[in-house]
């Protein structure tokens, strides 16, 4: 759970990094909701299922990765859609 991590304060550090990635996604023009962090223990199977369902719903509403449907750069370039 938050602050109670197998790696001591690892999940508090991760929370800040996730916030940073959301900022990067916003700057790029992607919905920052595409990444989320949730704290669950290994004994919370039901909650895990619920959170996973909610996340799936949210992503479904946002639709597929818009980069897959955008025009390509003139010369074909790397696997952008998976960046």
């Amino acid at each position: 759970m938050e602050g109670d991590c197998h790696y001591l304060d690892g999940n508090l550090a991760a929370k800040k990094r996730v916030k940073y990635i959301q900022r990067v996604l916003n700057a790029i023009g992607m919905e920052s909701d595409r990444i989320a962090m949730v704290n669950l223990s290994s004994a919370m199977g039901a909650q895990f299922a619920q959170v996973a369902t909610e996340m799936t719903e949210r992503i479904r509403k946002l639709g597929p990765n818009p980069l897959r449907h955008s025009p390509q750069a003139k010369a074909p370039d790397g696997p952008d859609a998976s960046e």
Binding site: A27, I28, G29, M30, L67, A73, D80
Partner: protein
Amino acid sequence: MITGEQKPLEEIKGFLGDDRNVLVVGCGTCVTVCFAGGEKEAQILASSLRMSTKLGGDPKEVSDVTVQRQCEWEYLDVIEKEVQEADIIVSLACGIGVQAMAKHFPEKWVVPGLNTNFLGLPEEQGLWTEQCQACGDCVLALTGGICPIARCAKQLLNGPCGGSENGLCEVKRVKKDGGIPVMETDARGRKRPVMEDVECAWHLIHERLSSLDKLDLLMEVQPPKDWSTSRDGGPRRIVREDLLLLDEG
């Protein structure tokens, strides 16, 4: 070390204009240590530019390369090929590296991806503080290793001003996170930046000299500081005749 912060993506995108082939060049020295322009940041910026320009309907070819130091010619020779293939170079080095790139590749358009901030100390992980303004006539021997030029808001040289209170300076600082001001709402519902306390440099100097029993240093009358060694004399340079290469011509 020299510290910097990456410019907002929008601003960097604005530099690109119609150029198609963009090369982001990172620097492996100071700006790597302050997590602003090293290999990792160059890769993230290149990726962000690729994704963002694609989403905007004007996709660019963006690649990246990082050199050991952008402020030395020999390290720039190594990336000659990549530079020649690009229409525009986004340098993630400090202002020195950007200028070195522009001088070394005079036919290339080079733009900065960073704002170079100050000469600072990585005080702890994620925190850099300004320590020196390169005044060219160091006074640290008189001030116990605490610089009043860089760390006193008024650059005073003869002790604290009347605004020093409980060890804090009367001049507050706008609190920032990743270069962005942290905002709060006041009692009347208006947004304003959060201000934070700054230590009074002269309080620190006094404390330190007193703890080392060297307060008498402050009693000596000092001549006015020679500011001609600082920016007052225009751009500065260092010449070492003993090191200059012999003119073979």
